[in-house]
Point group: C2
Chain length 453, copies 2
Amino acid sequence: MKTKKFLLNEEDIPASWYNIVADMKNKPRPMLNPATKTPLKAEDLYPLFAKAIAHQEVNETDAWIEIPEEVRDLYKVWRPTPLVRAYGLEKALDTPARIYFKNESVSPVGSHKLNSAIPQAYYCKKEGITNITTETGAGQWGAALSYAAKAFGLELAVYMVKVSYHQKPYRRSMMQTFGAQVIASPSMSTKAGRAILTEHPNYQGSLGTAISEAVELAMQTPNCRYTLGSVLNHVMLHQTVIGLEAEKQMEMAGDYPDVIISCFGGGSNFSGISFPFLRHKIKDGKDIRVLAAEPASCPKLTRGAFQYDFGDEAGYTPLVPMFTLGHAFAPAHIHAGGLRYHGAGAIVSQLRQDGFLEAVDIPQMETFDAATLFAQSEGIIPAPESAHAIAAVINESKKAKEEGRSRVILFNLSGHGLIDMAAYDQYFSGDLSNYELTDAELAKTIDGLEKII
Amino acid sequence: MKTKKFLLNEEDIPASWYNIVADMKNKPRPMLNPATKTPLKAEDLYPLFAKAIAHQEVNETDAWIEIPEEVRDLYKVWRPTPLVRAYGLEKALDTPARIYFKNESVSPVGSHKLNSAIPQAYYCKKEGITNITTETGAGQWGAALSYAAKAFGLELAVYMVKVSYHQKPYRRSMMQTFGAQVIASPSMSTKAGRAILTEHPNYQGSLGTAISEAVELAMQTPNCRYTLGSVLNHVMLHQTVIGLEAEKQMEMAGDYPDVIISCFGGGSNFSGISFPFLRHKIKDGKDIRVLAAEPASCPKLTRGAFQYDFGDEAGYTPLVPMFTLGHAFAPAHIHAGGLRYHGAGAIVSQLRQDGFLEAVDIPQMETFDAATLFAQSEGIIPAPESAHAIAAVINESKKAKEEGRSRVILFNLSGHGLIDMAAYDQYFSGDLSNYELTDAELAKTIDGLEKII
């Protein structure tokens, strides 16, 4: 076998993040104040976020933003991550396609989420903030932020979507091991939580509700800020270390991707792997496809509406321009908890609107079929979220085979599934189902949107 | 921060394993046929193991044994592993010691066990064997072998110690994801299992019993062989890739270890990290300490007897010269399932007898204290087994601080604990206890030994 992994050294960790907004002809529309419907400035975000983060959020001019030395030092715990040639998968698929994946699962918390958790905790610490809050779905983001908070000596409260709190107790334990406080959401600790529990006592939670609770706690706690693991522009920014490294590594491999694939929840790992490559398409018209793989039960990019919508269920956040299924949308309880979010971030939504990316949606069972094939051929058990990307890769590889031509596929393995084995158990025992959003459900959730703005 | 990780490239994966026996002045005593008490030759092991493995087991002459190309290719899935400078832990301990660890937890199954699983599966495949059996405690070995068996297209049956089968369902699911059949031991599927279940219907199993069952199944199945993840000489041999890489990496770091520490079950990760360094002590009298960290509940090296003993509970295996607590010893149900074994391998036992290594035993609670400090300072949640090494590292670092002098400590992080979070839950909830072997219990188990030979 020829080289399997393409490795970089610590000095190859990018010195700057890439801010794609600076290069976009059509900028994403601004976030709006929900009361006045006027665009938000960085200063308007100060109560919610660290100032440095607020400025990154609205930065439309700087294509490159320097990564602080303290952040790069912590990136060294696991970065650079390997780019891997998936010889095993290629063989199993008997495809002429050359498949590469960026292995973000080697992070000590098992996913790409640390890439943004570390700078967010760093900026808070630097500005004298002592407490932070956040929400988490499957727990990937919560686990990452728990370690980052501990590394910078911040107190952290995490609202974890109730269904995941019970389905994935091990991720809750991880957060507790790193010293975070974890609360099942909806909870009685916030007005937003109490309101939804009063109306639906057995509600198992959603990311939208957990965000409402985390925002509310942050606003009511002295010296406290809120943090978010996806959707927002600054998160996309931080995640570009993935694609920047991958670009160098594809060069080492002597190859260039025809198509870049990743799973899609709010857009964090998707943006991370694809934006550095997309810049050549945006700036120079480079011929490259970018493909988002969504769950069939939560298909905002494939079937949602491009609208201003709230980021959370209770309507605490600014209005964000997004492909959305509506902020009150309650997605089915699929195991890919990290993809159960109603909207796509503003940048991705604008790029989608402008035709720079494609999206497919994939039923749950197909993602576990793909995950098992990948595990058996590459040795790595993928997270249920990442399995969506793998399913899309397999479909692309089959097409390449049918067409009888080669194709270079790069995908992001956003995380491993070692904490998600209960989901695999269910799959093997035949207890897993597909959840597809019906046209009637879609019409209902989309119709509600018209009232927002 | 200066360099944190010392990384090698795929071409630096060792080309040969190191066979320490060739350099030992006092060779380990031979395994004996239990009926005739005569030394076993390679041929005597053919019914049990692949022939190549049988020859490696008794090889006393070749210091270097070439690693087959197919094995090195699969090593590339995750090797070389990083050597990491534990700046975070050093800071948390405020110690003048310089602490390094070899991070074997980055393997896709989360531990060092793949290092031997791959060659064992490879040699079986090469010799036309179609089925293999094994036992597993915590499931680290079973998970590794499951992937290796799948990679070479072998059918695998794993006997998993019953207490772990229930305590660690996620590792069972991992094995199933890779396509292995997993049976809780003791089971009704073997004579050995039925015998012990008849006498003790609620017996929760031990590695010794699971070995008996796996051996019995291998002997009664056509074209089937048995495999073992620790204790035997060929396993120690395969694991030396750890220390051989670490030697190069310590050189990159411009440092040399004063003491090498690892946890101790049967000796696989211990031998892997230490034998390549020990060769300089054996051959050239190099001043280096090697320290094994055992559980206080299963202290064969610190408190066991050096004796011929069976490797399994039912007495199916050859007699092995080992520091042992007796093959009928039933260790307490600590969470470090991989360390719940009654004996130390023949090579390690001889080295221990000849004064080449030290051992300490550590109570369970102290290992979880150490694990939590490590997680919070380095970001990696260690396996309960590896936590024994970390506890010993902390004790050595404290000594260095008391003595006011620096010291270079190298330890092996044999695996991560992401599949062991239930153990951390128990620890945080105060439900965890220490289990120390009393003198009376020790006397009883050791007394039994006299009858063996």
